[in-house]
Amino acid sequence: MPLDKMLSANRVACHMPCTSKKRALEALAELIASSVPTLNAEDLFSQLINRERLGSTGIGAGIAIPHCRFATGGASICAVMTLEQAIDFEAVDNQPVDVIFAMLVPEDADNDHLQNLAALAEALQIKQYPNTLRQAQTSHDLFDAATKPFVN
């Protein structure tokens, strides 16, 4: 998966002080919108919220992968956020979440995008990877840590 193309250094944020799922998704939408000027933060926020309503994207062990289809102009866009304090995310294991890895796919996304999502979920289930994300202290470190396993 070409994560280094989907993620960028200005779409990562370390130890954010978000206190709820709502605020985390809000911050996430702002983070993504500020790095891609054509995206509207409010629309994105409401898309992410709507997707969560159908079922939480908290996959367990403190990790969530919020994702949705969005008018991204054909690209897949990722963002990573770690939280200062773990928050309730209605995750499958009911554990609080402190690593949030978002993925937007274009509205006409096909199977490739689904496979990217699966690859990401798989990587995050190997404990070491989310732990390196948690340990990162600066955006720079976080970006490096996030992209490392995907660099061939």
Binding site: S20, G55, A121
Partner: protein
């Protein structure tokens, strides 16, 4: 879910009590400290004293983290402004406001994010009056709930001796009525729920909940009891919001008399209503009732805002010969006292209203929630999403869905496009081999609301759903 409720009156208070038991984080705001203290004494909720639409007050209540704002103060304007502030300053995802005045409610274009950002408008008076209207339209029913815009109805009736199906196994229903499809969703016998199967025998006095297409309801009802004649003459006691909207809904099909105590309101009613007869006076005035031939009236509806007045006038009307009496009773303790005695049907405004709010609290793509049996049971309409992989219901037959105890999939409403592009709706009464598809509206009956969470989880899409 973090929920903020504005207004600790009847609606707000009942709502808080209902939600507090469901693992929600609730804060309730009111300017009256007494109301709040009362609530906090017996519920695990946060309280904030203050003016409900002030940003600082909302902040104190934790609006920045809230998923849902429910503005049910007694002021339409405060409710609307609170939603506006929640939207503009705090991006609250879902905002519900009680709006009583039809002046605002009649302009749906007003309520959108660019104008007045209210996602859901609730008007308890409208909900109650629709609830009563459905009961009038299905004579003999104890309760009538609409699903999928009224295409399917869930009806509660009491089985009586003489109903062809009484004393028979449920499977005979099919034989009796080969052309009508229905499913019995639940049976209450001496107030205890029985999960119906094909060999369940219906006894007299059972309270039976069945689901069918709206057109088939009377046919099914006739299997369970002697049918009541369609109602003709109605007397409505109380011409407030509920009485007025009832009279307006019903006057074209029924002969309606409205009794209103307040001369000004009576005057207003007579100027607004077309064929209804408006009587100025007290509904508990024996002479007035006799003069107006109460013995000929099919249904007496007591809908003033006083429980006591409603109960008393209902009992009087019944003694004087009214066919059926329907009584609005807000105090739950009274409902237990009077229902089934002289009062045929007691209607709790809170219970009728609470469902429309629960709809937005529940997780998943929920279309409607109806609270039943004083909140013990629930009927839910939920949309199934996803596919074989991402959903636990889509692509499965009804018998293979892992339903929690005491719950039944009663019916499915499927939307498809006809050749000329119009949306078509197909009502499928659920049988064991009925397959569920993505986009289906599934109607589930839960005998015990404790299992609501399991239903939510069941219908939630898996992680891989985009």
């Amino acid at each position: 879910m973090k929920i903020i409720i504005l207004g600790a009156g009847q609606v707000g208070g009942t709502l808080a009590a209902n939600l507090a038991s469901e693992a929600n984080d609730i804060t309730i705001v009111d300017k009256n400290e007494h109301f709040l203290r009362d609530l906090r004494d017996h519920l695990d909720i946060g309280v904030v004293v203050g003016h409900a639409s002030h940003p600082t007050v909302l902040q104190q209540a934790g609006i920045e983290d809230a998923d849902l704002l429910i503005a049910v103060t007694s002021d339409d304007e405060i409710n609307m402004v609170a939603c506006q502030i929640a939207h503009s300053l705090f991006k609250t995802p879902t905002k519900i406001a009680r709006i009583r005045s039809q002046e605002y409610a009649q302009y749906p274009g007003l309520f959108r994010n660019e104008a007045m950002p209210v996602d859901v408008i609730i008007s308890p008076e409208q909900i109650v009056s629709q609830h009563i209207t459905r009961l009038i339209e299905q004579p003999g029913a104890l309760q009538v709930l609409d699903f999928a815009d009224g295409r399917v109805q869930l009806v509660a009736v009491k089985a009586y001796y003489g109903g062809p199906l009484v004393g028979q196994e449920l499977r005979f229903l099919r034989k009796h009525m080969p052309n009508v499809d229905t499913r019995v969703a639940a049976i209450y016998r001496r107030n205890r729920a029985i999960t119906p199967t094909g060999n369940t025998v219906i006894e007299a006095d059972d309270e039976v909940f069945f689901i069918a297409a709206r057109a088939d309801i009377r046919a099914v009802m006739s299997e369970l009891r002697r049918l009541d004649r369609p109602y003709k003459r109605l007397v409505i006691a109380g011409g407030g919001n509920i009485g007025f909207s009832l009279a307006k809904n019903l006057e074209s099909k029924y002969s309606v008399k409205v009794i209103e105590f307040n001369p000004e309101q009576a005057h207003f009613l007579s100027s607004q209503l077309n064929s209804s007869i408006v009587l100025e006076g007290s509904a508990s005035d024996r002479n007035l009732l006799v003069e107006e031939n109460i013995q000929d009236c099919d249904v007496f509806l007591a809908v003033t805002n006083s429980d006591e007045a409603n109960i008393m006038s209902s009992m009087l009307a019944k003694r004087l010969g009214a066919g059926k009496v329907l009584t609005l009773i807000a105090n739950a303790a009274y409902v237990d006292l009077v229902q089934g005695g002289e009062i045929d049907i007691a209607i709790s405004p809170q219970q009728a209203t609470i469902g429309s709010l629960l709809t937005h609290v529940r997780r998943g793509d929920i279309v409607s929630v109806h609270s039943l049996r004083r909140g013990a049971a629930e009927a839910i309409e939920v949309i199934a999403h996803g596919d074989n992989k991402s959903s636990k219901v889509v692509g499965r037959a009804v018998e293979d869905v892992d339903l929690p105890e005491g719950s039944t999939i009663a019916a499915i409403v499927r939307q498809s496009q006809s050749e000329d592009g119009k949306a078509q709706h197909e009502v499928l009464i659920a049988h064991d081999n009925t397959m569920i598809e993505s986009g289906d509206h599934v109607i589930v009956f839960l005998v015990d609301k404790r299992y609501t969470q399991d239903i939510e989880r069941l219908f939630q899409v898996g992680f891989t759903f985009f």
